[in-house]
Amino acid sequence: MDRVGTYRQMVRIREFEERVKRSFAEHPGVIRGHTHLADGAEASIVGSIAALRPGDQVMATYRCHGYPIALGSDPGALMAEIYGRTTGICGGYGGSMHLADPAHGFLGTSGIVGQSIPQATGAAYAAQVRSAGSAARTGDVVLCFFGDGASKQGAFHESLNIASLWKLPIVYVMENNSYSVSVRVEQEDANAAAGEPLATKAKAYSMPGVTIDGGDADVVHATLAEAVARARAGEGPTLVESLVYRLSAHGNSIAPPGVPLHYPEHEAVTVFGDVAEYEAAKRGDPVPRYRGALVTGGVLDAAAADAIVAGAVAEMQGAVDFALASPDPDPAAALRFVHA
């Protein structure tokens, strides 16, 4: 794996998310509705996607800014989408929760918890059928990202059973950030309440299930590389529970029009008053952690790392500038794309 490239992607995602967050203060009213940030999950996202090759596909949830960035989408088009501009990657039709960039293998997201799991499973079925019909397309895989909360959805159970039964080329990456919005995982999950990892659930489907440190990009990549290879070889799916910590609140504040939106503090603090937990998570931030590992390991020097950060800052400034300068969609365009 290109470890420096991995670090660069992680920094790009972090800077993008920081700019989304800052937009609420710097450009009030520009972002409407609900956004969900991936800060804290960068190592998991980039380490996973690094295991893919062209032709593979990804589906995810509404917390979806990071995946297309790692897959190569234009951050300007992504920011413009979040700003609701006509130059957005979906022309302003989708917004933060519904990014899609099929040209880069990002088939899309569902805004409803758990519902992209069967969709990704279907994409894997399509890949399997394609493989049977064409040597050139043999071995394409699908990565399916979702959160720990989604594993309580029936869609999860139904899909993993079928994927195992049909030996579909898919890897399920459950980003377990310990919170479903403001509910802690042990409050809603019988396995967590019993002190067990959520990857235990794979047992019900005769499927390998592993729990890994999702804050370590190298570990994530090694795990995903193995699971993806297994899927490519036609040996079926794997459930990877990637332990991450979301460093921002579930989403920005929810308020009627006219009330300024902002990002509240993390639920560990606002709901549970557990400042220590949140501070510990900040200390374990995967982005500086990976930088530290690379610098200590002699892979990257401090100056080069700073240059990567500076590059990302400039790139995302450009994304914000592009989005701000972009026009709103034509109102009447609301009637386009109702049908294909």
Binding site: Y93, P102, L107, T121, S159, H339, A340
Partner: protein, 327 residues
């Protein structure tokens, strides 16, 4: 060359021919492809035809995902009520993808399900629930009433680039009719005038089309000329054909097996009241199912459903009434 086959055979022939024409068409469901002798498995192999567990959310969600990835899945959902188990996937996912992506992706899939099995199937297997889907943007809804339309609408549904709900009427399953042998497409959004007439327009769907035709025959003996229109697809809905007919007849009777407040009838009534009011010479009459679930015992089942007698009475009400009398 047309020949007489059953409604259900026509549907399956439509799927079969489209699968033969386009390798991307897949067929999955709880009651398809379960054995190697299955005619679909035998022809198209176990990759393209697969039996699924009782997992509605996964079946329909997977169809959406496979569609995004370039396939054209047909999901045999068995009964329309089973769609309700997976409501999010039916009305809030695939049908939104094209729009939310700004036109980047399409989700061509067909959800085939039977409805209206008022033959003692009681409260959870007999509903005519299409009304709750016809106003869902991005979703198309076909309700064939004849074997030929069943085949033609299925072929069109499979070729359509949108999610299509193909709802076939269980009471018509073994009805026969002439069906073209080869490629046969029935366009969406194009109503059929199944019986021309001059005095009253009836709009009916599915099984009620045939009840309306029987009523028209009975009324013809009394000198009342009834035009019967079958919209064939309710989304898109061919309002123009209905308006043009009402412009000629001045009277509209709407027949629907759905409960009145969730019916095609209510929507057509609203459209004609809004755009065809000046044509009307009598109040619109709705002959729908009564607003109740379907009971098990036959007398109660019969009571809530439209029938020929109720249609005839409805037409007579329309004919006898005069708008603005005394004005």
């Amino acid at each position: 060359m047309a020949r007489e086959i059953t409604y259900i055979a026509a549907i399956m022939e439509g799927i079969h021919q489209e699968m033969a024409r386009d390798d991307d068409v897949l067929l999955i469901g709880q009651s398809v492809g379960g054995s190697p002798e299955d005619p679909f498995v035998a022809t198209f192999g176990p990759d393209r035809v697969r039996v699924t567990p009782i997992s509605e959310t996964a079946e329909i969600g997977m169809a959406a995902g496979a569609a995004l990835a370039g396939k054209r899945p047909v999901v045999d959902c068995t009964m329309a009520e089973f769609l309700l188990v997976a409501m999010d996937q039916v009305v809030n996912e695939a049908n939104r993808f094209h729009y939310m992506s700004g036109g980047q992706v399409t989700a061509p899939l067909v959800l085939k399900a039977g409805y209206g099995f008022t033959a003692g199937w009681a409260g959870q297997h007999t509903g005519s629930i299409y009304g709750m889907f016809m106003g869902v943007p991005g979703l198309k809804v076909a309700l064939p009433s004849t074997p030929a339309d069943a085949k033609g609408l299925m072929a069109t549904a499979i070729r359509d680039d949108n999610p299509v709900l193909f709802l076939h009427h269980y009471l018509l399953t073994l009805e026969t009719g002439d069906v073209p042998e080869g490629e046969h497409l029935v366009p969406f959004g194009q109503a059929a005038i199944v019986r021309p007439g001059t005095d009253v327009t009836i709009v009916a769907t599915g099984w009620t089309v045939h009840r309306a035709l029987e009523a028209a025959e009975e009324l013809a003996a009394d000198g009342v000329s009834v035009e019967v229109i079958d919209p064939r697809t309710i989304a898109p809905l061919d309002v123009d054909t209905i308006l043009a007919s009402v412009a000629r007849t001045g009277r509209l009777v709407l027949v629907d097996q759905a409960t009145k407040h969730a019916s095609v009838s209510a929507i057509v009534a609203a459209e004609v009241a809004e755009a065809g009011f000046s044509s009307l010479r009598a109040p619109i009459v709705q002959v729908t199912a009564l607003d109740a679930p379907i009971a098990y015992a036959k007398p109660m089942e019969d009571f809530v459903l439209p029938d020929v007698g109720k249609i005839v009475a409805g037409v007579r009400r329309a004919v006898d009434a005069t708008v603005g009398a005394g004005r």
